[in-house]
């Protein structure tokens, strides 16, 4: 396949064709494509650049394989080195923070949530990359902009998000009287109650699980009209709406499988796959794992968005995956070129397919990828960008909101009330106090 080296003209002519061939590109073809891309790319990597990239450790193996293929093609086409290291979800942030503080060790991080907002003045301005990709791929979803922009500047590129959606066993839901997945809060509470009665319990994390617990508890807060901060970033957590959310979550918690207060991000995956848990909020990784290891279970699994809030709108907090480039890197052009290359249709489409629904895009065109409709159980994860809110909710994303979510202010408030450690008023007052401290000045 060495004769498959696209030159610039045939690449441009290819247009739509590249998208179709992308999914089946072999390593050599990918390299040929990468070489052609290198000629036209607006970023010229520094000669002999050595880039250290830190990313989160995969949950879906095929996704990682596809990612490394892209890295490989990029290295060969540009004659640069990209060292990829992996860390678990929980260890990404401390490492990235230390690098930001010391100004060395890493050039770019593909991290979680609002990582770039924890140290915005250490991030390279990525506006040119974002504009380039937006133009090419049908524009950014609003949530993508919220996740990437500080003011008018892009401080990170939101590569994708993994949706925090309901994973449930259809048979158990049906037995609890819900053939159709409930669309409102009351129906959802009824479903959870019914499942407990049938001894097919639901469960969502209330421990310090940065992905799972933050995700569904922010949904519960927002669904009842509660917010940590208003649009001017003023703390408004102590409100009747929050009190309603607390009561609602307590009602759910009382019907959960025991032990959710100690759960971390992997606990629900384990319990679900072991057949002890029948409903939870998670990425698509449970379904993906069950397809391989427990086909019978996978036939019974389905996904749904969390029910709409009291105002009829669905606001969810998904786990965003932003990529950031430090401003102290010696190779900003290489890092930018790599980020753009990663999100080009020729790379991104096969990668999204390999991730089997684990990576939901913020760039509009990628919602057309066949992976979202080939299996209808994947479809809810396509629309993650539409329901996604940043941890700031109504407010503006910034280092304070990033600090609040990292300090589990909202999670602790719910857990304090649900486990009976504090009453509604005290739980709200403690959260208000912590939040005011973070958002001071």
């Amino acid at each position: 396949m060495t004769n498959f080296t696209l030159d610039r003209r045939s690449l441009l002519k290819g247009g739509a064709l590249t998208l179709a061939t992308a999914a089946t590109m072999s390593a050599e073809e990918l390299l040929g494509y990468a070489k052609a891309w290198a000629q036209t790319a607006p970023w010229k990597p520094e000669a002999g650049a050595k880039v250290n990239l830190l990313r989160w450790k995969r949950f879906v193996e095929a996704e990682d394989v596809a990612f490394m293929k892209i890295v490989d093609a990029f290295q060969k086409a540009f004659n640069v080195t990209v060292n990829v290291s992996n860390e678990s979800y929980d260890d990404i942030q401390p490492k990235a923070s230390v690098a930001a503080n010391t100004g060395q060790g890493l050039d770019m991080v593909w991290g979680l949530y609002s990582l770039p907002f924890l140290f915005p003045n250490k991030c390279t301005d990525m506006t040119d990359v974002a504009d380039y990709l937006g133009k090419k791929c049908g524009g950014w979803a609003d949530s993508g902009k919220a996740y990437g922009m500080l003011g008018n500047k892009w401080i990170g590129i939101p590569v994708a998000a993994t949706g925090g959606l309901v994973n449930y066993r259809m048979s158990a839901a049906e037995k609890a009287g819900h053939k159709e997945f409930p669309k409102d809060l009351a129906g959802f509470a009824d479903l959870i109650k019914g499942m407990k009665k049938n001894n097919t319990p639901a469960g969502m994390a209330l421990g310090h699980a940065s992905g799972d617990a933050n995700g569904w508890l922010h949904w519960a807060l927002w669904a009842h009209g509660g917010n940590l901060i208003d649009k001017d970033n003023k703390v408004v957590i102590n409100s009747p709406e929050t009190a309603k959310a607390l009561e609602y979550v307590k009602g759910l918690y009382d019907n959960f499988i025991p032990g959710t207060a100690s759960w971390n991000d992997s606990s629900n995956n384990k319990a679900f796959l072991a057949g002890q848990l029948y409903l939870t909020v998670n990425g698509i990784s449970i379904y993906v794992a069950s397809k391989k290891d427990a086909p019978q279970m996978s036939a019974d699994i389905n996904h749904a968005h969390l029910p709409a809030g009291v105002d009829g709108k669905t606001r969810e907090l998904h786990l965003g995956f932003p990529i950031l480039v430090y401003n102290f890197t010696k190779f900003p052009q290489t890092c930018k070129a790599f980020t753009a290359f990663l999100l080009e249709p020729a790379q991104f489409n096969p990668w999204v397919e390999a991730a089997q629904g684990y990576l939901s895009p913020f760039l509009n065109d990628y919602q057309k990828n066949p992976i979202w409709t080939a299996d209808p159980k994947n479809t809810p994860y396509r629309d993650v960008a539409k329901t996604a809110n940043t941890p700031a909710g109504l407010g503006k994303m910034g280092e304070n909101a990033a600090a609040a979510i990292a300090d589990f202010v909202v999670v602790d408030m719910f857990a304090n009330y649900c486990t009976g450690r504090e009453d509604v008023k005290t739980a709200m007052a403690s959260a208000e106090r912590s939040a005011k401290r973070i958002f001071r000045g």
Binding site: S97, F119, T260, A261, S262, N264, K270, D412, S434
Partner: protein
């Protein structure tokens, strides 16, 4: 004598010049100072400087990636009225007191047992060390599975035996969670206490026991009046270290519970990490870490002043 000094001829001063150098060159104290310099530099660079920096940071509002400005005692004032901080102080003290006391009791018991003559003595002594050798994070992960809300081997066994009918909520219930992390810490810390006390026991001369036996002393009397007094200095050292290690424990709790459920197992060290590194507020995290220093100094002071006393050194009442 003053006359001699006053009448010192001026030329003798100039004549002394080379001899000052000579004296400096041969001065043993100065040479010793030079020899100590690398060690001192090491201590200053890796101990004093980070400690000083941490204390300074606690008076600023520094965040990750952004230098802070001096804000005086604001971090401490905030912590003073922060219930989670006081909960972590309580947890840390509870954790340290209970774990250290039990570690001492079990460690001493094990040391006395291991000091006896028995078959495979060397092998058994080696086995006792295993919990201490296993990396903390590994043992924490093992305990995490043992305590899992759904897959706990303990719950499973008890259910199969028909003793309980549902899983024990080891890490989800506040009291169970505290007990569980303390147990894990004890499991890990006992070998250190046991082996060190065993080393102390070996230094007790057997002739003392022989003499006591001839005098008709009972087992308890021999322990109380020979073993215990002679062991006191080493007990003081071991327990100081044990308390310090336990007080500053981090890995075990972080891997097991991350301070949950509802902060019931947050130690000062884990809270400091969560606020300082995870949440990015270095100033506040540093303030929590600095707040640990008085407690640690108190622990050191107790054993330091204790060891100055002859009663502790020699185990007798003649102080």
């Amino acid at each position: 004598m003053s006359i001699v000094q006053a009448s010192m001829p001026p030329q003798s001063a100039t004549a002394e010049l080379p001899s000052v150098w000579q004296r400096l060159r041969t001065n043993k104290n100065l040479v010793a100072l030079w020899f100590m310099l690398p060690a001192a530099a090491f201590l200053i660079l890796f101990l004093a400087y980070p400690l000083g920096l941490g204390i300074w940071m606690s008076f600023t509002d520094e965040r990750i990636g952004r230098a802070g400005i001096f804000i005086g005692l604001e971090n401490y004032e905030w912590l003073w009225s922060d219930t989670i901080f006081w909960l972590s102080v309580f947890n840390t003290l509870l954790y340290t007191l209970i774990a250290s006391a039990i570690k001492f009791a079990i460690g001493l018991y094990l040391a006395l047992l291991l000091n006896r003559h028995m078959p495979f003595k060397a092998m058994i002594r080696a086995i006792v060390l295993i919990p201490f050798i296993v990396p903390t994070v590994l043992s924490a992960i093992a305990f995490w599975w043992i305590y899992d809300a759904q897959f706990s081997i303990i719950s499973w066994s008890l259910i199969k035996l028909g003793l309980i009918d549902h899983n024990i909520n080891f890490l989800g219930d506040t009291n169970w969670a505290r007990g569980s992390v303390i147990f894990a810490n004890i499991w890990r810390g006992v070998p250190f206490v046991a082996i060190t006390l065993l080393a102390g026991l070996q230094t007790v001369s057997p002739s003392l026991y022989e003499a006591a036996t001839l005098d008709g002393a009972t087992d308890w009397q021999r322990f109380r009046h020979i073993t215990y007094p002679l062991l006191t200095p080493i007990i003081a050292v071991v327990m100081t270290f044990s308390v310090l290690f336990t007080f500053t424990d981090f890995q075990l709790v972080w891997a097991l519970t991350r301070g949950g459920p509802v902060n019931a197992t947050h130690l000062m060290a884990t809270l400091s990490y969560q606020r300082g590194i995870i949440s990015g507020r270095l100033g506040e995290g540093a303030a929590i870490a600095t707040a640990m220093i008085p407690f640690l100094l108190a622990a050191i002071a107790i054993s330091w002043f204790g060891m100055q006393r002859r009663k502790w050194q020699q185990g007798s009442d003649n102080d």
